[in-house]
């Protein structure tokens, strides 16, 4: 085996394939000049570099979406209203908008309009540019070939193309935002989205951005499915794959199968705006509810595109920091596929109020079904925690945070999935809180945790544990402070998407705004910690956490350009902590779990 691998390597050198000197250089090694390095990155087909480029572009978009979020929250610190003082002069109350727009009711309209644009921008950026690509495109790209023992993803050039498409889509979105943004909400509901600002290009640009981003998502998904099928290292059967891969595989399948539907839907939306074909326009006989069906036929599965990668990360974090086999490996693996499958038949729960009763009942029942595989995972993770000696490093804290927040997010999903309660809660802050608990509290939290876990692998530097944990607590507390009050005010009837509200809700909004600032500080702490790590962090060992998957056991930190010196051969399962001393570690640090005080529950 080894000799053949070496043989073919020598052969590649004969042909001068690529201009790399030496196979042992880290993939981060710069070229001779700055310009050469930039060209090298811009034209790279190395999945690791593409993953890193994705990571930084996604983090940049996260920053933009975050600024919009903070603006929304600051504005909601007090309700936006016109007030008339004793002298009869009118002014607008409202934190930010109040200081920008002044005068009578026209100014209030403008203020509300601006508010609509800001929250729409926030939603669009966070969904299409941050959460959907977050884990798969950055960590997935980086880790999947490493975990499988492959040299790259199946189609490296498509992979690079997907990054450029992502950038193109972001540019469309940014151009639209700079030109004034759109006020449709991230859901683009018709007939509003087809008639607002008749003929203006920026709405088209924003819809176009979502359409373009779909291609990037499809390419990533397609690449991953083929990679998982075809590029597993010798000896790695389907059930020897790390659970991260199973999660990404489920995600990739949804990306491939759901995204084309939003593609055609957005295309028809564009036709509708440009040619007025009438499909969604009731005046011409079209049906706006049809748009909702098509939108959610994609967008419900896509919420699992968002959560499955988060779950994928959690499985790794829990296994490694508990030093234990994940309880019920197969159940966790298959639940990823079950989630992917069921996610396609529950879209109607977003439209209980706009469809017939019978279909609403059916969709409600199906919605309860989708909670099952999620619960299977949560119970298995908790089962893994049981009796383990847990190492509370930053990633593990994040994993525990995830369990807590995802449980809240998932259970409140059931409140919403029950017909009678949803009629009351639909379009209130309760829904806003629900989806933030799952999208931010779960996916994003898992992403940040996994970023800590894989940071040493990606950049070869350790981060500071103290500041990591500090960041975690700020994020965790800030998050709950921001979104928990939203459940309460939602249940009391506060509708979503308004700049104004009755006084009764003021306290909840103010708590929420304060929470969002704490959250902001938490993220800044992480940012500072990461920057410090890059500049002055201690060098990372190849396997700092004592993990057993190939990305830790068979490569350096950061990995060499070709990932592995020899094609790895898999001889043990990804979580056999009971039998295997983690390679590339000092055995004293990571004794076999069966040793006293470690691992086994009994």
């Amino acid at each position: 085996m080894a000799s053949i691998t070496t043989g073919s390597k020598a052969h590649h050198d004969d042909h001068g394939h690529g201009s790399h000197h030496g196979h042992d250089d880290s993939y981060l090694t710069p070229k001779s000049s700055l310009w050469a390095t930039i060209v090298d990155w811009a034209t790279t087909v190395d999945h690791k570099k593409i993953g890193v480029m994705y990571l930084f572009t996604i983090l940049f978009m996260f920053f933009i979406g975050g600024v919009a979020a903070i603006l929304v929250r600051l504005e909601l610190f007090e309700p936006t209203r016109t007030i008339v003082d004793a002298a009869g002069a009118t002014s607008i109350k409202g934190h930010l908008l109040g200081s920008v727009f002044q005068g009578g009711s026209v100014a209030l309209d403008q203020a509300n309009n601006t508010y609509n644009r800001v929250f729409t921008l926030h939603g669009l950026v966070m969904v299409f540019l941050v959460i959907v690509p977050s884990v798969p495109a950055s960590l997935g790209n980086f880790l999947i070939p490493l975990m499988l023992g492959a040299k790259d993803v199946a189609f490296p050039r498509l992979n690079l193309l997907s990054w450029y498409i992502y950038v193109l889509g972001s540019l469309f979105a940014i151009a639209s935002a700079l030109a004034g943004g759109v006020d449709t909400g991230w859901t683009f509901y018709t007939p509003y989205s087809t008639s607002t600002e008749e003929g203006h290009w920026r709405v088209l640009f924003m819809i176009g951005a979502a359409f373009i981003l779909g291609f990037s998502s499809i390419l990533t998904g397609l690449n991953f499915v083929v990679t998982v099928h075809k590029l597993r290292a010798p000896g790695m059967g389907w059930f020897d794959m790390p659970l991260f891969i199973w999660g990404m595989y489920g995600t990739a399948i949804i990306q491939v199968l759901a995204t084309p539907v939003i593609g055609i839907t957005l295309l028809l939306l564009i036709f509708e705006r440009v040619f007025h074909i009438g499909i969604f326009d009731p005046r011409m006989g079209g049906d706006p509810v049809l748009f909702q069906h098509f939108f959610w036929f994609y967008s419900h599965p896509v919420v699992y595109v968002m959560i499955l990668p988060g779950m994928a990360c959690i499985s790794e974090m829990i296994a490694v920091f508990c030093r234990k086999k994940v309880f019920g490996y197969r159940a966790v693996a298959f639940s990823s596929l079950a989630i992917a499958g069921i996610s396609f038949i529950v879209w109607g729960h977003h439209m209980f109020t706009s469809q017939g009763e019978l279909s609403a009942v059916i969709f409600s029942a199906l919605t309860f079904l989708v909670a099952l595989p999620s619960a299977v995972k949560v119970f298995n993770w908790i089962g893994t925690l049981y009796g383990a000696s847990i190492d509370l490093k930053t990633p593990m804290l994040y994993a525990l945070g995830f369990l807590f927040l995802f449980s809240i997010g998932g259970l409140t999903g059931l409140f919403l999935g029950a017909l009678s309660t949803d009629l009351h809660l639909h379009d209130t802050y309760f829904v806003v809180a629900h989806f933030h608990y799952v999208m931010m509290g779960s996916t994003l939290i898992a992403f940040v945790g996994a970023l800590h876990m894989y940071w040493p692998k990606m950049f070869g530097k350790m981060y500071n544990e103290f500041w990591g944990k500090t960041g975690f607590w700020l994020v965790f507390l800030g998050f709950n402070l921001t979104f928990f009050p939203q459940f309460i005010m939602g249940a009391h009837g506060m509708p979503r998407r308004y700049a104004s509200y009755v006084d009764e809700f003021t306290i909840y909004h103010q708590l929420s705004t304060v929470g969002s600032l704490v959250l902001l500080v938490g993220f800044l702490v992480h940012l500072g910690n990461f920057i410090h790590s890059l500049l002055a962090g201690p060098k990372a060992p190849p396997n700092p956490w004592g993990a057993l998957t190939l990305d830790w056991t068979d490569t350096a930190s950061p990995p060499i350009t070709h990932n592995f010196h020899h094609e790895p051969v898999v001889t043990h399962g990804p979580y056999d902590f009971d039998d295997v001393v983690p390679p590339q570690t000092n055995p004293v640090d990571f004794p076999i779990s069966a040793a006293p005080g470690k691992g086994k529950a009994h």
């Binding site: 075809k230 040619f275 074909i277 499909i279 011409m284 049906d287």
Partner: protein, 228 residues
Amino acid sequence: MATLPADKDLLAASAPPHERYRAAEHFRDRDHEFDAVKLGVWLFLATEVLLFSGLFVFYGIMRMLYPEAFIHGSSLLDWRIGLLNTIVLLYSSYTVADSVRCAQTNDQAGLRRNILITFFCGLAFLIIKFGFEYGPKYADGKLPGAFYSYPNAVSEYEPLWWGLYWGATGIHASHVIIGMGLFIWLYIRSLKGHFGPKHYNAVEGVGLYWHIVDIVWIFLFPLLYLIH
């Protein structure tokens, strides 16, 4: 792993490029790469099918709501032109399949001929489409939605039908155009001797794509032209 042969052939520098072809370095050999490419293409085709099935669902729902508009609209299409285009595409599906066979049997002349014929079938399809269908319909004002100005409608919902007609056939035609671009690319590569029995990934992939373009038309043709 006894997978050396693929790389062994490389030694003969005078051999044509398709024999010297070496799989990308993250694949074990050419067969491995071929399998992966094929799976990738099939997945891509699945996305195409889903894209068009969205359109078919729209068609079904709108037809159910406004049957008279759709029946009348359909009666304004000339099925003979649709049939002609169906024959053109079916024939091109045959030639593209044959081009794969030619690559497998190292029939370079046949390969190039088939690629060219397929390309010209695509062109013929477009000429027929634009010359005999889009052109006259445009002149008659049988246009989507707000641009509709045909005076003899029997139902006020006919603009919807034309919206679907133009949308569906337009998206299909754009696929034909992309396919033609791909055939130019294949033709240039075939001139350079890139394809042969051991390496014809691109011919196979583009061929499969072209079949999907064809199959979509096989569905569009009866839905738009034949069902009354």
